[in-house]
Amino acid sequence: MNIPEILFYSFTFILVGSAFGVVFHRNPVKSAMFLVLFFVGLAAMYALLGAEFMATLQVLVYVGAIMVLFLFVIMLITVRDEALLNMSSNAGRTVIITVLVLAFSLQFWVLLGGFMKAKGEHVVNGAAPYSTEVMNYTTGEKLLITGNAEVISYALFEKYLLPFELISLVLLVAVLGGILLTKHKRETLQ
């Protein structure tokens, strides 16, 4: 076993373990903590695969912003009514669904295993950098750029410019929606 494989299996262990922790821990705060661990493990996996820029963004966006929001909401809601935490599901139903879902994923395993029998052929090389040829608009010359952040930024602002702008619109709408929903007056429903 070489070092990347050892790293891959340890990250896999962290990812699967923390995902089970999110789903099965009874305390939502602990669930959220497991989700933080999951995102950090996923960022490590991205870095292992060679997508360092995405790994940094994963930590920055998911861990630094989204999960803080989750923890805020959980802490503010559950501190007031601790009794509501004890929501137990129907045990029999849980077992049935668990078995069904595991069978579903197992079926995928078998199917995919049939497709990709050849070992050591289809590998992801984490060390190989992207490169792309771009044109400098002011001078008109063509230049080859390599590296993660540079190549992605060129793709974002040339090929995917319209989706990129639309995403900013979506985010704006989400901000407005969040403010409107949480500022709702108390007497409106019920």
């Binding site: 903590m33 820029f53 940094t56 930590v59 630094g64 912003a65 501190v79 952040a149």
Partner: protein, 352 residues
């Protein structure tokens, strides 16, 4: 190749040196803050332990270790112990990406011993250094959030929610205030950012000058320091999110706070004041290369020291904001202002 010529050995040496510097730096910053605070208030400050009180951090450390460990009842013990660890580890991780020295060409004799041609006191150079700094410093929120939640004390929880809300609000304007620099440099690499400022610091360009003030206010808010230290409003919230922490666990929070302040000072010196670069007219006056490096690094530390002093200076001169005022400033003044500055920077770069 001998064992001392491998790359990993030198990385370990660098980590050891930087850890030593950062931990003693953090400890002595506490002493410096107390001495300077005493100076501002016309007192003497701690001066009993050793000459000028220089052994005071050591005495504090011994006291913290010897204290009895106390735990609040019904606290979540694992998370309670984890919180100071997260705070400390994140503030230690930030130092891994800071380039303390330029790339120094080693002389013949040293090349034979170390087995490499050049030397730089930087543990690793990540692909996007600025983003790495932001990603790791955004992890520091969890130390505070977990500390407040797990100590099972409503004042701690309120303080931690306040502190984290403040930190993530100001992280926005902090991130936006750095974009003008990235636009002007065209790189996310800290080393390149320093190199670009060789002859003119970013502080002396129009967008850089405007962004600098946003950056300055944001780092005060980001580190929960005085005009914005709502997390530790004694009259409202006892002492903040670490109310229930005593002994060495408290020391961890304390030292990580001061280490963060030093990191932010270094970052300010790197991003706006040119790091260890010397302008041409100075470097041409100094003939010896080693003297040039020494002067550059000395100047870099001096710039960072100015910010270290500024943190204390402001803390003992300015009263604290009210919480809603703080949030108003963050969202209604700083954020639009930094967006406008990004716009100005875009025009500036386009015209240049």
């Amino acid at each position: 190749m001998a064992w001392y010529q491998t790359e990993i050995f030198w990385v370990i040496v660098k980590v050891a040196v930087i850890l030593f510097v950062i931990l003693t730096g953090g400890a002595y910053y506490t002493l410096a803050e107390r001495r300077w605070a005493a100076f501002f208030q016309m007192r003497l400050g701690p001066n009993r332990a050793g000459f000028w009180g220089l052994l005071q951090p050591l005495a504090d450390g011994i006291k913290f270790i010897l204290k009895m460990e106390t735990f609040p009842r019904n606290a979540d013990l694992f998370l309670f112990m984890l919180a100071p660890v997260i705070s400390t580890v994140t503030s230690l991780m930030l130092w891994g990406a800071i380039p303390f020295t330029p790339i120094i060409e080693l002389p013949e004799a040293a090349q034979k011993i170390t087995g490499s041609k050049s030397f730089i006191l930087q543990v690793s150079n990540p692909n996007a250094g600025v983003l790495y700094m932001f990603a790791v410093s955004s992890l520091a929120v969890y130390g505070i959030l977990i500390a407040g939640w797990s100590s099972n004390n409503k004042y701690s929880l309120l303080a931690s929610v306040r502190a984290t809300a403040q930190m993530i609000s100001y992280e926005l304007s902090l991130g936006l205030s750095i974009i003008p620099i990235i636009l002007m440099t065209g790189s996310l690499d800290l080393y390149t950012i320093i190199e670009t400022q060789k002859n003119s610091w970013f502080l002396f360009t129009l967008p850089g000058f405007l962004a600098f003030w946003i950056f300055l206010v944001s780092i005060f808010a980001e580190s929960n320091r005085m005009p914005f230290d709502l997390a530790e409003a004694e009259s409202e919230l006892i002492v903040g999110y670490h109310t229930e922490y005593g002994g060495f666990k408290f020391a961890f929070f304390m030292i990580s706070e001061y280490m963060n302040l030093i990191t932010l000072s270094l970052l300010a010196a790197i991003l706006f004041l040119g790091g260890w670069t010397l302008p041409d007219f100075i470097s041409s006056a100094i003939s010896n290369v080693w003297l040039q490096h020494a002067a550059g690094i000395g100047l870099f530390l001096l710039k960072a020291f100015f910010f270290v002093f500024l943190f204390v200076w402001v803390r003992w001169s300015v009263p604290r904001f009210r919480y809603d005022q703080l949030m108003d400033i963050g969202w209604k003044v700083m954020l639009p202002a930094s967006l406008v500055i990004v716009f100005i920077a875009g025009i500036y770069v386009y015209l240049k």
